[in-house]
């Protein structure tokens, strides 16, 4: 038996099966993510202002920091996933990751030069890289396999609420104490520490190794590169290569549209609202009709978003349509991918399997952003969007073919 399908006692607290709730562990992990995201988005929303206005970095130095931030976490994800599997202590690996990010907030108080700030930002991203896969492995372990999509949906919803609250807290603070960035770092640190406390005190250390012997690097590698995971990983990579960063989509909206230009930061909020509203319903839909199907449909929404953004016309209505489509895309993919993958690897390699899929996506999207940026400057936004839309149109049926039967395999 390759995949064990135990139902965890207590993971399903519904009385006779009609109304089922996600496990309390999933909700607690969601609360941890919420608090941590308030903390990190507070910093993220003021950092550009701080770096250019208060520290005085030139755009060039800022660009370097920007790229750094993106690239750093990808590789640590695999390490985090493997460490969680190997030691059978995914909770404590996650604690380490959340803790590192928390400490990086308070370090901003003393970091003044470019090098120091780069180091602090790097530690924050290392923490993020480290914690993501073991946390998702915990969610998978704590949930009924039939409700994985919903469980990830609930977690991602809480996570997104935190991400939406963060900038609000930051702006309120800056209104109360104008120009005091130190206050932002201190309050952000406080949120992060409470998040870590909830994780340490209340989240059980579910052992993904299922009581069996610890898994070696070679077996993990075999499980991750094995037949069952190979096709989903390739599919995720191909789709990731055709997923341009939302930053670029926002910039192309801004390019054609006065509304988008003035309210640029609100675009991100709009996408988040759509994501928030849809993460749970689409997660449940994935449980019912198949995760691969919802994942592919999500990329259909992305494709539609490219096409609407490439239209020569602008205006509030079309901008909102793009934000909605982008929210659908995230709701149909962000939690659905780990839900899909976690049932395709043996229990003892679950963290590594989830990490592998997320790393493939992160690296593919990074490459796609670089390529899109180059195309943009050569041919302009509309042409580049249409090219990516064309490639995605070709890729979607190919991916559907690649992923045929994967859902059946995961629940068989």
């Amino acid at each position: 038996m390759y995949v064990s399908l135990r139902d965890r006692p207590g993971a399903d607290s519904g009385k006779s099966g009609t109304i089922r709730r996600v496990s309390s562990t999933v909700v607690l992990l969601g609360v941890v993510s919420l608090l941590t995201d308030v903390s990190s988005e507070m910093v993220a929303s003021v950092l550009p202002l701080y770096l250019t206005a208060a520290v005085g970095l030139s755009p060039v130095a800022y660009g370097f920091l920007d790229g750094m931030y993106q690239g750093v976490s990808a590789f640590l994800r695999i390490a985090g996933g493997y460490a969680g599997d190997r030691g059978g202590q995914p909770k404590w690996v996650a604690v380490l990751g959340y803790g590192a990010s928390a400490i990086s907030r308070i370090a901003m108080l003393v970091a003044t030069g470019f090098a120091a700030i780069t180091a602090v930002v790097t530690v924050d991203r290392l923490g993020k890289g480290l914690r993501t896969a073991p946390r998702d492995a915990l969610i998978a372990e704590a949930s009924d396999p039939k409700m994985l999509g919903r469980a990830f949906g609930v977690h991602r919803t809480l996570d997104t609420i935190g991400a939406a609250l963060g900038p609000l807290v930051a702006f309120a603070l800056l209104a109360a104490v104008p120009g005091s960035y130190d206050s932002i770092w201190v309050v952000s640190f406080a949120f992060a520490i409470v998040g870590v406390a909830v994780l340490v005190l209340f989240v059980p250390n579910l052992r993904t190794a299922a009581g069996s012997a610890r898994i070696g690097l070679r077996r993990t590698f075999r499980a991750v590169s094995g037949r069952r995971l190979r096709r989903p990983l390739i599919a995720a990579g191909v789709l990731g290569l055709l997923t341009i960063g939302d930053g670029f989509l926002y910039l192309s909206l801004q390019e054609r549209d006065d509304f988008a230009a003035v309210y640029f930061p609100l675009l991100y909020v709009g996408t988040n609202i759509a994501y928030l509203a849809l993460a749970v319903p689409l997660g449940r839909l994935a449980d019912r009709v198949g995760r691969a199907r919802v994942l592919i449909a999500g990329h259909g929404a992305l494709l539609a978003g490219y096409l609407v953004a490439a239209l020569p016309a602008g205006g509030l209505g079309l901008t909102l349509v793009v934000l909605l489509l982008l929210g659908v895309f995230y709701a149909a993919t962000d939690g659905v991918l780990p839900a899909l993958v976690s049932r395709l690897v043996p229990d003892e390699a679950r963290g590594s399997g989830i990490a592998a899929a997320q790393t493939v996506v992160a690296l593919a999207r990074f490459a796609s952003s670089l390529a899109f940026g180059l195309l943009w400057s050569l041919q302009g936004p509309s042409w580049s969007l249409l090219l990516f839309a064309g490639l995605l149109t070709a890729a979607i049926p190919a991916v559907a073919w690649l992923l045929r039967g994967v859902d059946a395999e995961a629940t068989a």
Partner: protein
């Protein structure tokens, strides 16, 4: 640990976080209020109307108190004397004898920024397109062209390509000439199309076509000369940011990075005829677009930090590398010399 002890431990952490962070913020707020209360009143005086008719300096007044952030005017003959306040509040200001360009911020849930042209009575004559965080603003000598540079960014700094500058040239009658980032950039004879290309800090020549600016790509910066008509910008030399053309059109004041640590610059003057460069006597790091007081003196803003509140002064230094820097106007920022 029992369930009860866990709850107690969480409550303890919560209280510690709440009291610690809340106390910190409260303390900052209190000390900000004290600084504000103990700030000496600004010396006000002078008549805006008559100041317009003599050589003067327009700037943003940063003196703490009710007039903080307002645009003020002082006569060139008494720059550190009483200042006449205009009704306008701007983050960045630049002026000629007829027009004023004012970049201002409206703080809120989402901070938005505006670019407004003010008429001789300091009232809004026209609103110009502006995207992002105001950084630089310049008018051409006759006031017919305006250039603004903003930092454009999204909410998240985690995506590559999300951050860049945008520099837009507009005619003061409202016609948009264009985003100079879209002009053809030629560096050492080669056309640069890299996605990280940025242009900022425009200074106009007198013919309402030529201008100078900074171009950056791949971690390098250049002084570029551009033509609005031909829609091209061409590199003249490397390591130049925020150029400012002298009144006699022979020299360019700029900030250079050289081998300084990241985020540090120093002021220098480049002679367009002889191709020589002189570093100025100011050795502190300057991040401002310099302004010429006259053909022999450079003005620039430099921030200072006292009692936890940041302000800035306008300094002057000789343009030939001699002498030493002196404060010209205290608690001031973004000077524009109008003759």
């Amino acid at each position: 640990m029992s369930g009860r002890n866990r709850v107690i431990a969480l409550v303890a952490v919560l209280l510690a976080a709440l009291i610690g962070a809340g106390g910190y913020v409260w303390n900052v707020r209190k000390s900000q209020a004290e600084t504000l209360a103990s700030a000496p009143p600004v010396d006000q005086g002078g008549d805006l109307q008559s100041l317009r008719t003599q050589p003067h300096i327009v700037f943003r007044s940063n003196a703490l108190g009710e007039t903080y952030g307002r645009v003020a005017v002082v006569p060139l003959s008494a720059p550190n004397g009483p200042r006449a306040f205009t009704p306008a509040s701007c983050e960045r200001v630049y002026a000629t004898s007829a027009d004023t360009i004012c970049l201002s911020a409206q703080r809120g849930l989402v901070t938005t920024y505006q670019s407004r042209l003010l008429d001789a009575g300091w009232n809004e004559a026209r609103e110009l397109p502006l995207t992002g965080l105001p950084s630089r603003a310049r008018l051409s000598r006759d006031g017919s062209l305006v250039a603004t540079t903003t930092f454009v960014y999204g909410d998240s700094y985690a995506n590559p390509g999300q951050f860049s500058t945008r520099t837009v040239v507009t005619r003061t009658d409202g016609e948009v000439v264009g985003d100079i980032e879209k002009f053809k950039l030629v560096v050492d004879g080669k056309v640069i199309t890299a996605s990280d290309k940025n242009l900022w800090g425009v200074t106009f020549a007198d013919d309402n076509d030529r201008f100078f600016a900074t171009a950056a790509s791949g971690g390098k910066t250049w002084l570029v000369e551009g033509s609005l008509q031909a829609r091209t910008v061409t590199s003249i030399r490397g390591d130049v940011e925020c150029p400012s053309l002298s009144p006699d059109k022979t020299r360019i004041a700029f900030k250079k990075h050289g081998d300084l640590p990241a985020g540090k610059w120093r002021l220098a003057v480049y002679n367009l005829r002889t191709g020589t460069e002189i570093e100025l006597a100011e050795t502190r790091s300057i991040d401002d677009q310099a302004e010429w007081l006259d053909d022999s003196t450079i003005l620039y803003g430099l921030s200072h930090n006292t009692d936890g509140s940041a302000s800035s002064d306008v300094w002057k230094v000789p343009a030939d590398g001699s002498g030493k820097p002196e404060v010209l106007i205290s608690d001031a920022w973004s000077p524009a010399v109008v003759r």
